[in-house]
Amino acid sequence: MRMKLCDSLNENVKKLKQTLCSEDITFLPFNVGQLDAVLIFVNDLIDKDSVGELILRPAKKIDGYPNQDKIFNAFLSPEKKCVYTFDETVAEVLLGNAVIMCDKNAFSLSFGLKFFEKRAITEPPTSTVIKGPREGFVESLPVNISMMRRKLKSPDLIFENVTVGKYSSTPVALCYIKGIADEKLVKKLKKRIKEIEIDAVLDSSYLSKFLGEHRFSIFKQIGNTEKPDILAGKILEGRIAVFVDGSPIALTVPYLLIEDFQSASDYYNSSYSATIARYIRIFSVALALFLPAIFVAAELFHLQLIPLSFLLTIVNSIKGIPLSPSYEMFFTLLIFEILNEASVRMPKYVGMVVSIVGGLVLGETAVNAGIISAPTLMIIALSGICLYTVPELEQTFSILRLFFLIVAGSGGIYSLIISISILFIYLISFENYSTPLCAPFAPLIPSDMKDAVYKGFIDELDMRPSSIKSKNKRRIKIKGNS
């Protein structure tokens, strides 16, 4: 409905009431000088004190029949704008703004007087740190934007707004640094977001599904973070962030696989410990993914891989186990996944019970009863813990772990190597927004290795990563050095 407002208040209000017929929307008649006027707002989204102070009180002080300029200047609200069409007026009301319509004037005046309860800024549970900032994003877009502004006080920090969702009209903001981010990518991303036709965007994860270029990929294609310091770091590297109102998780584009092996604390701790921590994460993920599969393959097909003394231990422990090694591992893994799923969904105090029941009762009793062997239980437990060293990839790797286990149980180590090879080819050929997922390893970008294979000292990270397209490459300039 791109219909323009007319200068008859009654007609405008009548038409608006047809669209905004919900009972929580108030149409409050009042006067602006000698003119009849109506104030329209959504009851629970508005700061009523400010309405009185900034709209109703100044309206009383106006004399005669004011024109558009006089009306506009009479109100002192810092956030106001004139709109001239019905759909814009409706959108402004639904966004939680207060809108004034006056008789004999073919425009409406919108005031940003939104007020609603917000969650306090807290440390996000998904990325806690021992050292470093603890604040995390919240569900309110303006609060999130303000947090970014506080981090990066630069005129080059740009926010571009888009609205997505037929029914939700969710405000979405693109955030990037002009002069660093690739402009083509900004345009492409904005176009993609605008093209999304969806009923509602209830969380940023809705958008990430649309922004990915590979529909069936189980791998993440869009990065995300809940922390302003991490996001500031990412956009300073040339990435573009996408905020969605109602979501505490900001999306980042382009995404590299190595990002999830880098932790916020890497940048607040010494380079040595950060490097070691990174290796531990990579090793843990490898252990989590392949240990159950290799163990089953070794037990079934390649006993020569296992040292003799360890082999004897295994033989003793699997004596009398009714299931074959692959079924035993598969079902134990399945039970682990069930416990994992249950403990996430359950209330905290019940979750504790699940941990005790799962860990002690189920595990120990199953071993004592001779249903599963102790090494199998130990391997699943180790694999389960290891996977959480990179929590962002937990879901993807859980699926892969199960897949590798099935492959190794069916075809042994050679089938496992084949499936890893195919995954390897897939990963190295995977690109999203023309950025290779496995950069800086494949393709090899030596200059980016100082924040990948190891965590270099801060002065070593003088250039932005070449894996991400950026016009302005230098980020640190030390006096005296060229």
Partner: protein, 361 residues
């Protein structure tokens, strides 16, 4: 301006990652049967011949304004190019048979000693099938990662086996005489011919003077790895080397078995096997590219299916006779391999290198 899909660095890594791999499985025992302690000289001769071919190819690559298919088209016209490439398709198909068969045997008889079956090997074909659908830059990316894996696997095996090596066993050098050494070279020629891959990558990478030097050094590193393996292998097993059919598995077994570590060396073997899957897929990859060029197929999967399908059919149809076929290729097709792997590539230098816009397959 010409867009290169590969970096010269990736060509260097390509040579390190893939050149030594297929020469570590069965080839050492084959040469040992003929040349004994001089087996490494046989390998060295073949490597030198291959290296000379590489020099011609990189000389040609320096001025190439188009890729190899374009170069052929420039010089021989479309039909001529297609005929030459069809012959090369046959060459690649035959070149695949020996390493494919040896890897099948290796997998069946070494990894699945309890229940050997061809069905454990058949899933391998998924790797070339998938790789063939990818663009050429994926080879570069694979090399970027796999060279470290190959190198680490190789170092693990050599470190584990060198303690059992008696290097006096390879002395005196040249004791077996020129005919045995040359026969060893001739028999093993099917395992070599890696320069041909670089010929097919001509025009896909920038080849300045310093890049040429790096490529040559990388080839030399790959060659040195093969020679070291040969020397250590013979030094460990001496006169019974020819009986150790699967050199890769045998070379380090004494250390690990005697020390009761389990086959710890399998970590190195698996690393090499991992790189080996891509290395073994290369002839099928280039075969698929040739099919794409000749028939201008638009669908991505057709050429890979043909190229890989031929190998599957050969393997399944002639399953009982694969050893005979392998023996036939080694004994009677050496000349064919030399022509296509060493002689014809040298003529690349004479090809017309002007820029050509043609429809890429």
């Amino acid at each position: 301006m010409q867009q290169y899909q590969l970096k010269s660095r990736q060509i260097c890594f390509f040579l390190i990652a893939f050149l030594p791999i297929n020469k570590l499985f069965i080839m050492p025992s084959v040469i040992a049967n003929v040349a004994n302690e001089d087996m490494w000289i046989s390998a060295l001769i073949t490597l030198l011949v291959d290296f000379i071919t590489l020099l011609f190819i990189i000389k040609a690559a320096r001025n190439a304004k188009t890729d190899f298919f374009g170069l052929l088209e420039n010089s021989f016209g479309k039909t001529g190019a297609k005929i030459i490439l069809a012959l090369y398709f046959i060459y690649f198909s035959l070149k695949t048979i020996i390493p494919l068969n040896e890897q099948k045997d290796y997998v069946e008889l070494t990894l699945y000693t309890l229940k050997p079956s061809i069905f454990y090997f058949l899933p391998f074909f998924l790797v070339p099938l998938y790789l063939c659908t990818k663009k050429i830059r994926i080879l570069g990316r694979a090399a970027d990662v796999l060279w470290t894996i190959t190198l680490n696997g190789f170092i693990t095996l050599i470190v584990l086996s060198i303690g059992n090596a008696d290097f006096n066993a390879i002395l005196p050098i040249g004791a077996r005489g020129a005919s045995a050494i040359l026969k060893g070279s001739y028999l093993s020629v099917g395992w070599f011919g890696d320069a041909v891959y670089i010929m097919f990558l001509t025009g896909e990478f920038l080849c300045r003077k310093k890049d040429c030097v790096k490529i040559c050094l990388s080839y030399a590193l790959g060659a040195v790895m093969v020679i070291i393996f040969m020397i250590v292998f013979y030094s460990v097993f001496t006169s019974i080397s020819f009986r150790q059919r699967f050199a890769l598995t045998e070379i380090s077994k004494y250390t690990t078995v005697i020390n009761n570590l389990g086959r710890f060396d399998y970590i190195g073997i698996i690393m090499i096997l991992f790189s080996g899957l891509i290395s073994l897929s290369l002839p099928m990859y280039f075969g698929a590219r040739i099919i794409n060029y000749i028939f201008q197929i638009k669908k991505v999967w057709i050429a890979p299916i043909i190229s890989v399908g031929i190998q599957i059919i050969i393997m399944l149809t002639f399953y009982q006779f694969l050893s005979s076929i392998e023996s036939f290729i080694m004994n009677y097709m050496g000349i064919f391999f030399i022509v296509f792997a060493n002689i014809l590539p040298c003529f690349t230098i004479l090809l017309n290198k002007k820029e050509l816009s043609y429809e890429k397959g």
